[in-house]
């Protein structure tokens, strides 16, 4: 069996495992025992399968894993779900998996089916691996932060609407979610800053078309949003809902950067 066939097979199995894990986490949110029992082991299995898929595709492409955006996107999801699996065990944040598992599913599918997986950057420089690595690690941390922020908003809504039966008791306390989201943001921000700075050095070598400009604007917007959330949190007491929306908006911009990268060669022949 060729490596491409093996990679495709692993992709299908991994995507299925992520989909099942997502369903189980949602059923855990709905208070089903089944979800509480099996969601975590299934997500852990999906992550191991994802790691195998990543190694096989890297071997197949015969390229540095962080050389292309498709592999980087896949790696970002892999790192995010690994971080979540570790943190949720320590912090009892299991139900946040309802946001992390679908993110991982979307990322792995996008890395394979959006744009051309063989597309490589037009320009190779020595700082490219550093740029991609810092960006993907930052994105993984922001993915978890945004999942925590989304859970915060869900819990806060239950409290404001006074919906006290069910979901409210199954979600973590607001202070745990707010604090954890802030910590992931703090960890990811320096990495994003390195990514942006190395990107600025590299930008002089790259062809700046319209899509590249949009991509860069989105990346800077994400950086500004994250900076704003962190700054306003320490200076202006931005916590809770505002910080959560800021985190989600920042991650949304970062995710769009990935999407624009993934589709940059679509239609270019």
């Amino acid at each position: 069996m060729s490596l491409t066939r093996v990679a495709d097979l692993l992709l299908v199995v991994t995507a299925l495992a992520y989909a099942v894990a997502s369903g189980l986490y949602f059923s855990q949110l709905a208070g089903r025992e089944l979800g509480a029992r099996y969601a975590r082991p299934i997500l852990a299995s999906a992550t191991v399968l994802h790691l195998s898929y990543f190694f096989v595709t890297t071997a197949n492409l015969k390229a540095c894993p962080v050389d292309g955006i498709h592999q980087a996107t896949s790696l970002m999801a892999l790192v995010a779900s690994s971080i979540f699996l570790f943190v949720s065990r320590v912090k009892k944040l299991e139900v946040v998996g309802a946001f992390v598992a679908p993110q991982a599913l979307a990322a792995i599918l996008a890395s394979r089916f959006v744009g051309s997986p063989d597309a490589t950057p037009g320009v190779r420089t020595a700082i490219l691996p550093l740029h991609v690595t810092s960006i993907l690690l930052a994105s993984a941390l922001f993915a978890v932060a945004s999942a925590l922020a989304a859970t915060y908003l869900l819990q806060e809504k239950q409290l404001k609407k006074k919906k006290t039966a069910g979901l409210l008791q199954r979600l973590p306390a607001l202070d745990v979610l707010d604090r954890a989201s802030h910590r992931f943001l703090l960890a990811g921000f320096p990495l994003l800053t390195i990514g942006i700075l190395t990107g600025l050095l590299w930008i002089g070598h790259a062809n700046m078309n319209k899509m590249a400009i949009v991509r860069n604007v989105l990346a800077y917007t994400a950086w500004i949003l994250f900076a704003l959330v962190l700054l306003m949190r320490s200076a202006g007491g931005w916590r809770g809902r505002r910080a959560a929306w800021g985190t989600i908006a920042g991650f949304g911009c970062a995710f769009l950067v990935y999407v624009f990268y993934l589709v940059r060669n679509v239609g270019a022949g």
């Binding site: 404001k160 039966a165 979600l171 973590p172 306390a173 007491g237 809770g240």
Partner: protein
């Protein structure tokens, strides 16, 4: 070895020779219950007094704020009840206590004990404390050797039933008191109340019970502010770690407090939207949770619309309490069914204890009689028979004995399923001239006690 060292009686180990007698919140007002209540070392003396009468072979005493009950085992259930009544009357004049006492015997007594342990007979159905209280009573009875095989088996089974009810139904789910609901809600905002500051506005009974619930929920620092500083001081002195404050300090207090429980007698809002908004601004985004249990309300409802500010009033809390009660009522039926199933299984087991030795004894009696007659004949009129003929005669008598005993054995086994089966067993024993049943052995009692100890740990 059983802890019961008295001479064996006819029904020493009959699991159904038990009785319950006592008062509870259902039968007696607190004024009566508090007169009957037996606390501390007095319980051991009371148990010793109970066992002073030959009728009471085993006894234990459950004395809580909602019930005072004696569980006893002995040969005669009526004598047990009489003895317990007599002892209650020695504490409270008979005419005062008599109308409030209830009694259960045999099957009904076991059923009652199962229901009490499963928290189906509690004032707040599903509350977990009762099981611990009964276990403590059991420990005390075990400690002063007033309990033996019968009650040990019944209580062990009752603890098992309670465990099943707790794990297989949601009888204990949902909060059923305003104070516990407030604590639960606070924990959806702050995971740990230990490092949080709790502010009580008002120093009445509600504030006190809420303070105790918050304390039990982990709160360490509690501030009490009241219009009358003396009242705040008095309440603070009764609650460990609490400090009194003046109500005039309210804006500053709100800046630091995380959970605010309001229960003043004020006619209007003590916490207005403006006061809360100013506090929220100074708190730099830290959440602030108001629990307004006052009527009329003391916290402006618009406070709930402020960012990072949550306000629940008495209606919100009572709605949650009523949801909890509904959930428990729905689960109570399932729990009752489970208790009934367990009771049936216990009764079948109890009858089996009586039936099996009876069947064995009848067979032994018949075989021994036939064997003795055969020996007599073979050494007398039939001594000319050959060895083969003697063997054939033995086989024939064995087969005849089996055929004769087949029907009585079947009837006795069927008696195990019949609640009135005890009478059939007794009749059979009389017909075959067997001594009245003494169904289980000392080793069984010991085994049961060991099992009970294991269950408790």
């Amino acid at each position: 070895m059983s802890r019961d060292h008295r001479p064996n009686g006819n029904h020493q180990n009959d699991p159904l020779k038990v009785a319950v007698i006592g008062v509870s919140y259902k039968s007696a007002p607190v004024a009566v219950r508090e007169r009957v209540a037996i606390a501390g070392e007095e319980r051991e003396n009371f148990l010793a007094q109970l066992r002073g009468d030959h009728a009471v072979r085993e006894a234990m005493l459950v004395s809580t704020c909602n019930r005072v009950e004696i569980y006893a085992a002995g040969d005669d259930e009526h004598a047990l009840v009489d003895r317990a009544r007599h002892l209650f009357a020695s504490r409270v004049p008979s005419e005062d206590i008599k109308p409030f006492l209830y009694e259960r015997r045999g099957r009904e007594a076991v059923h009652h004990v199962f229901r009490v342990c499963a928290s189906l007979d509690s004032l707040v159905v599903g509350e977990p404390q009762i099981l611990g209280q009964v276990k403590e009573a059991f420990e005390i009875a075990t400690g002063c050797e007033s309990i033996g095989g019968v009650l040990t088996r019944a209580m062990t089974r009752a603890f098992h039933v309670a465990k099943r009810v707790r794990s297989e139904t949601a009888l204990g789910a949902g909060q059923v008191s305003v104070a516990s609901v407030a604590v639960d809600l606070a924990k959806t905002i702050y995971s740990d109340l230990g490092g949080r500051e709790v502010l009580l506005l008002g120093a009445g009974e509600i504030a006190e019970s809420a303070a105790r619930a918050l304390k039990a929920g982990g709160a360490k620092r509690i501030l009490i502010a009241n219009r009358s500083f003396e009242k705040a001081e008095a309440l603070a002195s009764r609650i460990e770690g609490a400090e009194p404050r003046s109500l005039g300090e309210l804006p500053v207090l709100l800046e630091h407090a995380d959970v605010v429980l309001v229960s003043t007698g004020a006619a209007g809002f003590v916490v207005t939207r403006e006061i809360a908004a100013a506090a929220v601004k100074r708190r730099r985004g830290r959440p602030l949770f108001f629990v307004d249990v006052a009527v009329p309300r003391n916290v402006d409802p618009r406070v709930h619309d402020l960012d990072n500010c949550y306000r629940y009033d008495i209606d919100d809390l009572e709605q949650i309490v009523s949801q909890g009660m509904q959930e428990r009522r729905a689960e109570a039926d399932a729990a009752e069914r489970l208790v009934a199933t367990e009771l049936d299984s216990y009764l079948t087991w109890a009858r089996q204890l009586e039936v099996t030795p009876t069947v064995v004894a009848i067979r032994e009696r018949v075989r021994a009689t036939l064997a003795a007659e055969l020996d007599k004949s073979l050494s007398g009129k039939l001594k000319h028979l050959s060895e083969d003929d003697r063997k054939a005669l033995g086989v024939m008598l064995e087969a005849a004995a089996n055929k004769i005993l087949h029907a009585p054995t079947r009837v006795l086994k069927q008696a195990m399923e019949d609640p009135e089966g005890g009478a059939i067993v007794e009749s059979a024993r009389r017909l075959f001239d067997l001594p009245a049943s003494s169904s289980s052995s000392e080793s069984e009692s010991s085994e049961s006690s060991d099992h009970a100890r294991h269950e408790r740990h």
